[in-house]
């Protein structure tokens, strides 16, 4: 029992990342009908928003500390972050410690701006072109984005730690009444899952309960009629693109403590996220979320030692196997809508 719960938990954090990226992909596909191969790059850019923000916080100037001396007996030079000057040392250092969660505030406007710029600048010109062209141009864009990041941040992963309070693990099993030591789970992964659940709920609530969301849903169902009603649906879809970019970006921001960001992390996730979207059903938001968590958990189970003993290497290919089986048996994916990308 403990083992099963542990694997479900292990699957949740990766599943959350899949679900968030797949949700963004589906939003873009459902609204604009564009297959966005640059979505993984947006995830990666989000992660680098966190890196940039924590670098910004740590911008410092050198001060000579007269009270201390270095080993030669000269007054010690200390780097003092500007943020200490503004907020004082205690608050300043805790702000730096909390850089990753705080960069959410930084990432949201940046990612929305990037998303809107991307849609207006490039993707808009590809609505009438075949899906293959959309895939190709966004694939090119993904290469460009990741090379730009590589140029500025180098090819090595940049460690970006979680706040001190959330480093380490806790015994989740004890809370559920199991023996201690059975289910040990890192804090940050639980936070990641909760955060993802919050974002997903937020997106769904936004679409379900606001007028804006209602119009967008109407536009997804029948774009022409909505336009005939005199609503500028293009503008709203552009904003939805920005929101989808922000969702991917936030998934990236919060993922940095789990995996140090590097320039190709987006591509690694992109391939899997596409599989997730297709399994969930093109254009179905609940399908994307469900498939994301499902595949994350299946992958975690396939990585168990007991499973690997029977089927070595199954953890590497299980997602693709599931995708192939689903695509061949349920052509529309798990929850695909009728008439969306059916061929």
């Amino acid at each position: 029992m403990e083992a099963i719960i542990l694997q479900v938990l292990n699957g949740l954090d990766k599943g959350s990342a899949y679900a968030l990226i797949a949700l963004g992909l589906t939003l873009i596909f459902g609204t604009l009908g564009v297959v966005n191969f640059a979505h993984g790059a947006l995830f990666m850019l989000g992660a680098f928003c966190a890196v940039t923000f924590s670098n910004l916080l740590q911008l410092s100037h050198t001060v000579i500390d007269e009270t201390r001396t270095d080993f030669l007996g000269n007054p010690l030079k200390v780097d003092v972050p500007y943020i200490y000057d503004i907020f004082g040392e205690a608050v300043g250092s805790s702000i730096i410690d909390w850089a990753v969660p705080l960069s959410i505030l930084f990432a949201i406007p940046v990612m929305i701006a990037l998303g809107v710029a991307m849609e207006r600048g490039l993707i808009r010109h590809f609505y009438k072109r075949p899906h293959a062209d959309q895939i190709l141009v966004t694939f090119g864009l993904a290469i460009v984005l990741q090379e730009i990041i590589k140029y500025f941040y180098g090819a090595n992963p940049i460690p970006t730690p979680a706040p001190e309070a959330f480093v380490g693990s806790f015994d989740f099993g004890v809370m559920l009444g199991f023996d201690p030591g059975g289910i040990v789970y890192p804090y940050w992964r639980l936070i990641y899952f909760l955060f993802a659940a919050f974002i997903i709920a937020g997106v769904f609530a936004f679409l379900q309960f606001t007028t804006f969301g209602m119009v967008v849903r109407a536009g997804m169902a029948d774009r022409e009629t909505v336009t005939l009603l005199g609503i500028d649906i293009d503008k709203r879809f552009t904003i939805m693109f920005g929101i989808a970019a922000a969702v991917a970006g936030l998934a990236g921001v919060m993922y940095t403590p789990i995996n140090s960001p590097n320039y190709h992390m987006g591509m690694d996730f992109l391939v899997l996220s596409f599989v997730v979207v297709v399994v969930g059903g093109m254009g179905s938001l609940p399908g994307a979320v469900l498939a994301g968590f499902l595949l994350g958990i299946i992958e975690a189970f396939a990585s168990m030692a007991q499973v690997l003993d029977i089927l070595p290497g199954i953890n590497q290919i299980i997602i693709y196997l599931v995708a192939i089986v689903v695509l061949l048996t349920r052509p529309r994916g798990l929850m695909g809508r009728k008439g969306v990308m059916e061929d």
Partner: protein
Amino acid sequence: MTDQTTDTIPAATTSASPKAGGGLLGLTKKDFGLFLLVIALTMLAPFLLNPFPENSAMAQFNAGYPDLMQRFVIFGIFAIGFNILFGLTGYLSFGHAAFLGVGSYAGIWAMKLLTLNVIPSILASMLVAGLFATLVGFISLRRSGIYFSILTLAFAMMSFALAYSVLTPITGGETGMQLQYFDPRILDAALEPGQTPRANLFGLDMATSTNLYFGNWVFTLNVGYYIAAFCMLIAFYLSIRIFRSPFGMMLRAVKSNQNRLNYTGISPKPYTLAAFVISGMYAGLAGGLLVAMDTQVGAERMFWTASGEVVLMTILGGAGTLIGPVLGAGFIKYFENIVSKINEATLHTWFAFLPDGLEDVVVAMIYPFVGKGWHLTLGLLFMAVVIFLPGGLVQGGQKLVGLFRRKKADDKTASSHTPAE
């Protein structure tokens, strides 16, 4: 793209029965001319690609060394094969590198078990890649569009992951597969311990090269290159024949409207599957040739970025055109090798004529795009091609030619009209 197809359809219908057309080798005059041009280019490549004298400042732009030339033609074959699938049927496979990788493994095992002669190895590569493509194609072709892309991608990633982990005894895992002197080559005499096994063609070592010296120029003629080039010419010839055959017409019909094809009572599946398997065998041939040249295989050859690369090559050159994929492959491989070699010091020597401050600015502006940043240039270029030239470099060339022709025609009509007025 559209004017391209309307252009080729009359040619295709006339050459559908080669005897009636009376062309050479079953090709129309225009195609035969193109084929001759490609033959001349590949045969003279060691000379054409080394236009700069040795030791000169420009020598680093020379591409006439065997390793790179082999890559030109081998990836040319890969792209030609990919184009038969994507260019004709419109099915965008994102997992073609799997066939190249599987072919490579088959090739190296033929060399390990049978003989160091490259012919059985290349045949084994094509056969195994073809079988694997039949399997993958049979399943993947049940869907089309984005689903087909994802399915092929999934198969390729599965092959990659398996080659990297579970299949290590067959694939060598992370270290890859190399030839050893103690391999049980049943058709060859055993090698002495410590002797390096080298691929050969009936005793002719693949790495044999002859250097020709003309003043300061050095031209390297390499056996491996010419064997690969010969394979590419055959591959290219076959692709012309496929493009101009009734089979090619059927594939184009699949691309333009599958429903209509269904209504006429024809199932597109056998045609697309045949195209898929043919293009998989082309990839296998490329993989087998890669093994013949450097006698080693690594799993990274099957990673999805490798599949992406052949897509880039085909689109960049011009999907659906005959010569496009070869151009694209040559273009990408050339710049990959040459542009990535340019470093900051080289840039400084180039712009030394500028005033110091300006020189630094210019170098700083160019530097991100060369050397390690070559992929950035490639990405930008690729985007530009997809946005402005969906027909690739070939379409760009046609547009240029068209521009000149129109000007001339305008001049003529203008001059002929003036007297009448």
